[in-house]
């Protein structure tokens, strides 16, 4: 038996997969979700959600933070943006990194600085995701 993995972004339902296991980058550490997991809501840090499909295929998604809603039979990821790992290139990750660093350098107000730091964290996770 399996659990249903759903990846939902504000603009669309990005994916629905029957999975045997989903590894979620929880705020307090990675979390493997199998069927009959205790109902949990967790916030996510930027990172890779990897899904082991029932058909044997593995899929990875890069999410820039969000939430996971886990019940016994479902694992729903709410992410503001999600990219399939196969669509993520090293160049794009590097570009995001440079942009975030530039934003951090030019940030003047507290709010801008926080936003830039968040961007940088996402970019760092992105680079890591591409490498690993």
């Amino acid at each position: 038996m399996a659990l249903t993995f759903e990846l939902v972004t504000p603009e669309a339902s990005a994916a629905t997969i029957n999975a045997t296991m989903v590894v979620v980058p929880g705020a307090e550490g990675d979390m493997g979700v199998l069927e009959d997991h205790a109902p949990t809501v967790s916030s996510l840090r930027p990172g890779v959600v990897s899904v082991n499909g029932t058909d044997g295929g593995d899929t990875g998604y890069f999410v820039a933070g969000g939430f996971a809603e886990i019940t016994g039979e479902r694992c729903v990821i709410l992410a503001e943006s999600a990219t399939a790992l196969s669509d993520l290139t090293a160049e794009a990750a590097q570009a995001a990194m440079t942009e975030a660093k530039a934003a951090l350098d030019t940030a003047t107000s507290e709010g801008e600085k926080n936003a830039a730091e968040r961007k940088l964290a996402i970019a760092e996770a992105m680079v890591e995701a591409v490498a690993g």
Partner: protein, 294 residues
């Protein structure tokens, strides 16, 4: 009376107008479908988010300003979402009217009001009356396409102002899409998070057997993260609804215009034919009476 040539020109010009309005109607119909699809696609996220949020808010006693308010209600911000373009019936006018009414209500109650205008038309219409209240206006969100990033940029902007203490409460005015003929102008309380709506949803969530969640890292941390994101989601939802409403209103308005142009063409054609026959008859009488006189 207008000459035959005048009438012919007039018919020609109304026919051209009809062509334009019927083309606009078809464009609006196509855009409406796209807007509806986009709204449809965004629904699962918004629904899940709302369920999670109401579940959390119902059990949390957190005093986050986004949830509990700033403790005063001195300054209100009205976020008015309108279209960038006209020719869509009473769509913009209705939204502006609601914003004006709300501004006046609040001012009568002695509150300060700030206006945040999304879309060109709202700012244009309110500039003369409340020009000094408009603190910001953004436009051209649908070029090339409305996206979540744009909505969340607006939300971030609003949240930054809120953190700086620029206002105590924010209300979003937008048109909820009902059908192509009916759009409902809606006021939605954005900040602090509307409690009534959430109590209803909370009751539902409790019935749901999923409500016994474990929260990681903790309820309050998640809530603190969820609330600002919810503002973005709500803004995005409102903008999508607004886009669909705008196209629906335009479609109906242009359909009416096309029909009216058709009617006008019929009337003018009738008048044209009648004048033409009258002219012929007149000429005949002239010839006949001329011949008789000889």
């Amino acid at each position: 009376m207008a000459s035959l040539k005048d009438l012919r020109d007039r018919i020609g010009s109304v026919k051209n107008t009809r062509k334009i309005t019927s083309a606009m109607k078809m464009v609006a119909a196509a855009k409406l479908r796209r807007a509806q699809e986009q709204a449809e696609a965004s629904r699962p996220y918004a629904e899940r988010m709302e369920r999670m949020l109401s579940d959390l808010a119902a059990r949390s006693s957190s005093d986050l300003p986004l949830l509990a308010g700033t403790g005063q209600s001195e300054t209100h911000m009205i976020i008015l979402a309108t279209a960038d373009r006209g020719l869509c019936g009473g769509f913009n006018a209705n939204l502006v009217k609601e914003a004006r009414r709300m501004t006046q209500e609040l001012q009568a109650a002695g509150k300060r009001v700030k206006l945040y205008c999304i879309g060109k038309k709202g700012a244009q219409a309110l500039k003369r009356e409340f020009g000094d209240l408009i603190i910001k206006q953004v436009a051209d969100l649908d070029k090339p396409a409305l996206s979540y990033d744009k909505a969340s940029a607006i939300a971030d902007d609003i949240l930054t102002m809120f953190d700086d203490g620029a206002f105590d409460a924010a209300t979003l005015i937008y048109a909820q899409f009902q059908s192509a003929i009916s759009q409902i102008v809606t006021r939605q309380q954005l900040i602090p998070f509307a409690v009534e709506a959430e109590a209803d949803a909370g009751a539902e969530a409790v019935e749901d057997d999923d409500s016994a969640y474990e929260f990681e890292p903790s309820e309050d941390v998640i809530l603190a993260e969820l609330l600002p994101r919810n503002v973005g989601v709500q803004v995005f939802k409102a903008l999508l609804e607004n886009a669909a409403s705008e196209q629906g209103a335009r479609m109906t308005a242009m359909d009416n215009a096309t029909r009216n142009a058709g009617e006008m063409i019929n009337q003018l054609t009738l008048l044209y034919n009648r004048s033409r026959q009258a002219a012929i008859t007149k000429e005949l009488i002239e010839i006949v009476s001329g011949a008789e006189a000889l």
